[in-house]
Symmetry: C2
Amino acid sequence: MKHTITFVPDNITVTVDDNTNLFKAVKAAGLYVLSSCGGKGNCGKCKVVVREGTVEPGKSRSYLSAEEIERGYVLACHSKVKSDLAVEIPQESRMQAKHKIATGARTDELIRHMKDAGGCLESRISRTYLDINPPTIDDNIADFERVKRSLDGAGLHAANLHMNYMMLSKLPRVLREANWKVTASVFSVGEVLEILDIFPGDATETRYGAAVDIGTTTVVVYLVDMMDGHIVGTASTYNSQVKCGDDVITRIVYATERNGLKELQDLAVGNVNTMLADLTEKNKVAPNMIDYIVVAGNTTMTHLFYGIDPQHIREEPYIPAATFFPLIRGKSVGLAIDPQAIIYSMPNVASYVGGDISAGVLVSQIHKQDQVSLFIDIGTNGEIVLGNKDWLVTAACSAGPAFEGSGIKFGMRAMEGAIEEVEIDPRTYEVNYRVIGDVKPIGICGSGMIDILAEMYLNNVIDQKGKIREEIGSKRIRRGESGLEYVIAWRVESAVNKEIVITEVDLDNLIRAKAAIYAGFATLLSHMGMTFAQVEHMYIAGGFGRYIDVERAITIGMLPDLPVDRFQFLGNTSIMGAYYGLLCDRLRHEAEEIAKKMTYIELSVSRSFMDEYMSALFLPHTDLGAFPTVRAEMEKRNRVV
Amino acid sequence: MKHTITFVPDNITVTVDDNTNLFKAVKAAGLYVLSSCGGKGNCGKCKVVVREGTVEPGKSRSYLSAEEIERGYVLACHSKVKSDLAVEIPQESRMQAKHKIATGARTDELIRHMKDAGGCLESRISRTYLDINPPTIDDNIADFERVKRSLDGAGLHAANLHMNYMMLSKLPRVLREANWKVTASVFSVGEVLEILDIFPGDATETRYGAAVDIGTTTVVVYLVDMMDGHIVGTASTYNSQVKCGDDVITRIVYATERNGLKELQDLAVGNVNTMLADLTEKNKVAPNMIDYIVVAGNTTMTHLFYGIDPQHIREEPYIPAATFFPLIRGKSVGLAIDPQAIIYSMPNVASYVGGDISAGVLVSQIHKQDQVSLFIDIGTNGEIVLGNKDWLVTAACSAGPAFEGSGIKFGMRAMEGAIEEVEIDPRTYEVNYRVIGDVKPIGICGSGMIDILAEMYLNNVIDQKGKIREEIGSKRIRRGESGLEYVIAWRVESAVNKEIVITEVDLDNLIRAKAAIYAGFATLLSHMGMTFAQVEHMYIAGGFGRYIDVERAITIGMLPDLPVDRFQFLGNTSIMGAYYGLLCDRLRHEAEEIAKKMTYIELSVSRSFMDEYMSALFLPHTDLGAFPTVRAEMEKRNRVV
């Protein structure tokens, strides 16, 4: 028996078999619904409203409030289709699917940064215009050898000239159609030259590349004019893989146990293709003029982008297929650019410290300084590097994506409708908040969560362990389905027709996440026999990092209690480092040296990390002496500490 | 309207639309029918017999005898299907489709020849057994880097180690399934090492390669044990491309004007795959253990095997896509061996002197001798090389495939049923002949044609121009559809229920073919300011060459009148040279030096060649003084010369 499902408000219809899983039906319709667990049934995010028809809701109810059940909510992944349906995917279950396109406003600044880092415009791929003598009966050498001779004449020594099958196949046609005036795109590896492609006419001035940051949550593309380094345009979008799981572990499970490797690859490549298509169309760039792409991503994202099985990243002893990936061609991964284009991925260090981090260190320049710096990239994962010009140690602190909303009842990413700043009145416990886009809130993003944690702690709403002090008697404190919770926005204020709350479970998850980050810092320092006081610079990278209030982050003990002037926000160093590597082969090589130099500490088996982590499961920390400014603030607020 | 055609005696049925071309229907049924023109309608070879049903025979009749028409013969390519049919493909229109398999009897001799030529067992691909330390939490480098480290430990410096996408994709699985005991197949190009493939366990002793001769008419494969050079087995078959045309020009037309490039490639690759499948199965060799293939073929065959457009080979100024082809992977051409296998083609010299000739010179060793030699490869084409250790000149004499049966009324290849030796009684003009397989004859092969021409000339049946002397009054001389003809076998003797004749048109074609070969020799000599007398060695290569009676070939003026002890038959030097190149990288390199050293003379625009050709359109030659032994024989037979 077949059933027809109409999804509103999109008005998209799909026909499925009886008993089809509703989560799969949503995907079959080409629509997205939020899911942290990839449809495994345990994150409770894929809420949809059944407007008409019947589903078998399975265990949906245990994830829903009585009111939600009343209003027809089910979890898509638990529900089976039993009749024709009209299903609404409500705003809070949707991802912002449309990507953003921007122009290259940051070009000058970025090029200056790159040059400060010792970079120059020097790529491994070059273009050479060839005005080739057409063959005659007296000069009848073959096309390939004729091009070789012409390259020789242009000063490109071509004793070891290669050309692959695809290029050779089209060579005779291209040469003749272009009337023997062509531009060769030549790639050098040591003494071997390879003709990547040949274009008609003079295409020496129309070389483009792309820097790509494949984040677990966000994918960013810079389309770059390789002649001058100018950023033609930038675009960013959510990584469509999110529908298969929020974090790298869930994605690896999806790729391996659920046979989804190809799907995940297609999703990430599709994101890049869509953005490149928009950028090239908008800027009148021929997509086949893009012949070099540098990708930075964590190790798992790199595997998935290339379609390489990431299974062993997840299993002890946590082994990637490669850290320094061999070069791969555009066509191998299905990128809609020059099929011969070279794809390079910034060097990974280990299973949980990837090319985004070697890119980040390259941008931070900590590997050139005498002084010791800490670098952290806070994204869906949290990776830390400690070091200076002589040594570098690194670790991934497995903070998990709590600050991006995963595992937090009203957690969401920093987009319109997210509460991003929160203040609690010390006397009335009333809440002031600011919402991105100045609209009614639908949830809370990372910076909002940090504020909530800090404010609740400073104002005595929660204790050091994050437990809500019911005894203070605020009407905002109530007992919900998962224990005590605190109301941040009342139903009338919210866009989702219900109270937006933070629960004790949420608080616990946030404390675990911040503890993991701090314990990561502490473990690396202790590994080197150092203390926080010796850290002269603290660099914070990552999309999330741009929104953090340092003092609040210190208050909750996520960041160490250092003078605020030691902190510096770098922004998305992954895309910046990819851009450096794209334009300058010397800096690309430098990133490889950085990756080789980094000593990776596997925290998941570190006794020292476990101790530090346990000590950090308090606000701000078991050892309040390590947080003098927080202590001072608490004393100011007249609390006994 | 659909019609069903049953082909007998195969009893294969195919359903086609009304009006379908019968030639296409034969191909659709997966059957072959002889055709020199590839179905263009002008060779008259694709004769079939309509046993039941109706066809519209088109212009068939102009190619058929009255008796054939009576018996239901039509040309498949001219006929349109008008009803259900029963069609017989008679024996004379069939190709011998089944290939021959032999064991490696010639191994010892060939290895000795190769070693005499300075060869050794030294390939660019090597196998190394790696007993890799499995990863642990303390030694958790990635799989790719782990293999690299292990290769380093085995003495293979891997600073520039590459691995392609396909290999990387399967790396984690292969390593773990093999419990970290694997064999790496490593390919070296200068300082770059590439891991072509990784096999479980110790596969160092099971490396196989294949030498392949892609002839215009015949494809030969040697399956070779790369450990000791032993030929595991050999196989040969007709090149299935023959159904698209007999010679390289027809094939190029088929590839370009008739859009048949992919089909031609698939046919040749299919031939190799079929033979390799049989050879590997019979000899219990795993096909993926074949990681290196060296192909020798003429320039057009090389293009077609690789699927590269050969169009410009045919058009002045006759330019191939490449002469030194870049390396190509097994998977790129669809060979059913290790997909990563390296395919190397013996270096071509020019559009009409290919890798089969550089292979042939390598085998002949004329490039190392002080004395001057002539080398000719007589196959479907005739290529000539003149030279010694200091210089080499080469040309293709465009003899055409007359000696293989093309353009000859009863011409056929040297297979069962072919008349291969002929004697004519000087007094009675009666004919004695020998048939391959000692069966009733169905046609005449190349050596038979040379005999016929020589015997008819020596016995005064034809004049110096190849015109039949009707006045001698033999009952074997008669006037047929295309003028005078001479009966070689009477109807009662033949297997095709009709007289086997040689016509004046046939004789003219044969004289043109032999004249082209001789003129080729003469032109190269005159180019070097030399005479035949200075040629110390005359090497004859090619499948056809094995059957030539040198004295008869001198009689008709195809070969120069040199002492018989200067002639030496080398056999199929194309496959032998491919075998040398496969086993010994030094000899492969030597073949490249040979190809570079050869000066190519384009005879088709040579005034000198045209003059020589016109002079050679006589038996044996305008200048009988150049053929003293023929003159002596004629004098012996009391003819005025």
